[in-house]
C-alpha cells in the first residue's frame, strides 16, 4: 500500500512538473483565442438571426380572430359586442359588399375568402376581398392557409344557430 501511494504521489508531482509548459501553453492559447474571437466578432462579423416560422398560419389565425371580433360581422346588443356571435343581418350585408372591409383591415398583398355555414339550416355566406397593396417587396410565390372556428349565428327573431366560420388566406409574404 505504501509503495503504491508513494508511486501515486511521485507520478502526480512528476506529471504536474511535466504539465506546466503544456498548461501555460493551453492557458495562453485560450486567452489568445478568446481575444481574437472577441475582436473578430466585434469588428468583422455580426451575428444575425433569421426567424423561421409559419407566418401564413399565424396570420390566418390572427386575422380570423380579428374578424370574429369585428363590428362588421358580430352581433351588438346595443352595449356589448358579442365575440363569435355573428349577426345574420350583417352577414347578408357584408356578402353584398365586403371589399371595403378587407381593404381596410386585411394583410397587404393578400386575398381573404370567408365562408360561414349554418349547421342547422344549411344557409351559407361567402365573401372576401383583397388586402391593401403592399409598398414593400413581397415574395412572388403565394402561400395559402385555411382555419375553421366554431361560431353561432344570431337571427333577427333571436334564434341562435351553431355554425362554422372558415377563413382561407392567400398571401404573398414579405421577402
Amino acid at each position: 500500500m505504501a509503495r503504491i501511494r508513494l508511486l501515486n504521489i511521485k507520478i502526480g508531482i512528476k506529471g504536474l512538473q511535466l504539465a506546466w509548459p503544456t498548461f501555460f501553453g493551453a492557458i495562453i492559447s485560450l486567452i489568445v483565442v478568446v481575444i481574437l474571437f472577441y475582436l473578430a466578432v466585434g469588428r468583422f462579423f455580426s451575428i444575425d438571426t433569421e426567424v423561421v416560422e409559419a407566418t401564413i398560419d399565424r396570420h390566418a389565425y390572427t386575422f380570423a380572430n380579428v374578424l370574429l371580433s369585428s363590428d362588421s360581422l358580430v352581433y351588438n346588443d346595443g352595449n356589448t359586442l358579442l365575440r363569435g356571435k355573428l349577426d345574420k343581418s350583417k352577414l347578408d350585408l357584408i356578402q353584398t359588399n365586403s371589399k371595403q372591409l378587407f381593404s381596410k383591415i386585411g394583410y397587404p398583398a393578400s386575398t381573404t375568402e370567408v365562408t360561414v355555414v349554418d349547421l342547422e339550416s344549411n344557409n351559407k355566406w361567402s365573401f372576401g376581398g383583397d388586402g391593401p397593396q403592399s409598398s414593400a417587396p413581397v415574395d412572388p410565390l403565394k402561400e395559402t392557409y385555411q382555419v375553421t372556428f366554431p361560431v353561432v349565428i344570431r337571427y333577427p327573431n333571436d334564434d341562435v344557430h351553431a355554425a362554422t366560420f372558415t377563413l382561407k388566406l392567400t398571401e404573398n409574404l414579405l421577402k
Binding site: I9, I13, I27, I31, V34, Y38, V41, G42, S46, I47, D48, T49, E50, V51, E53, R58, H59, T62, F63, N65, V66, L68, S69, S70, V74, T80, L81, L82, R83, K104, I105, G106, Y107, P108, A109, S110, G131, P132, Q133, S134, S135, A136, L173, L174
Partner: protein, 132 residues
Amino acid sequence: MKGTNEVVTDAIFIMGVLLFLILLIQQIVPQMLNLFNQAAVDSSDFVAKEMSELVTVSGAAPYQIDITYSPTGAKYNLNIQNGILQTDLLKSPSEIQKTSAAKIANDASGSFSDVNIFYISKNTGGTTIGAN
C-alpha cells in the same frame, strides 16, 4: 519532492492565473451575452414580428385594450404605414444596424425614432401606437 516554499509559490501562481481567467471571463461573458441578445431577442426581425402580431391582434379585442411592449436594451426606429411595420435596430441614435419589416392587418399608423418602449392602445376609435 518540492519544498514548502516552492509549493506555496506554485499555489499562488495557480491562483493568480485562475483569478486572471475569472476577471477575463467576467469582462467577456456580459459582452457575449449582449451580442447574442442583440442577435436574438433584440433583433429587428424579432421585434418587427412581435410588434406586428401585437398590433394586429389588438384588433381582436372587442373593447379597450392597452399593451406595453419593451424589448430589452436596444433602441429602434419604428414606422407603420400602409399595413407594413418596419423596425430599424439602432447602433446609435443616428446609425441603423439592421432593418426588418412585417405585415399588419390593421389600419394603425405611426412613426417613432430612437425608442424602446412601445404602447398599443385599442378602443372603439381604432388602434393607436405610442412609443418612448
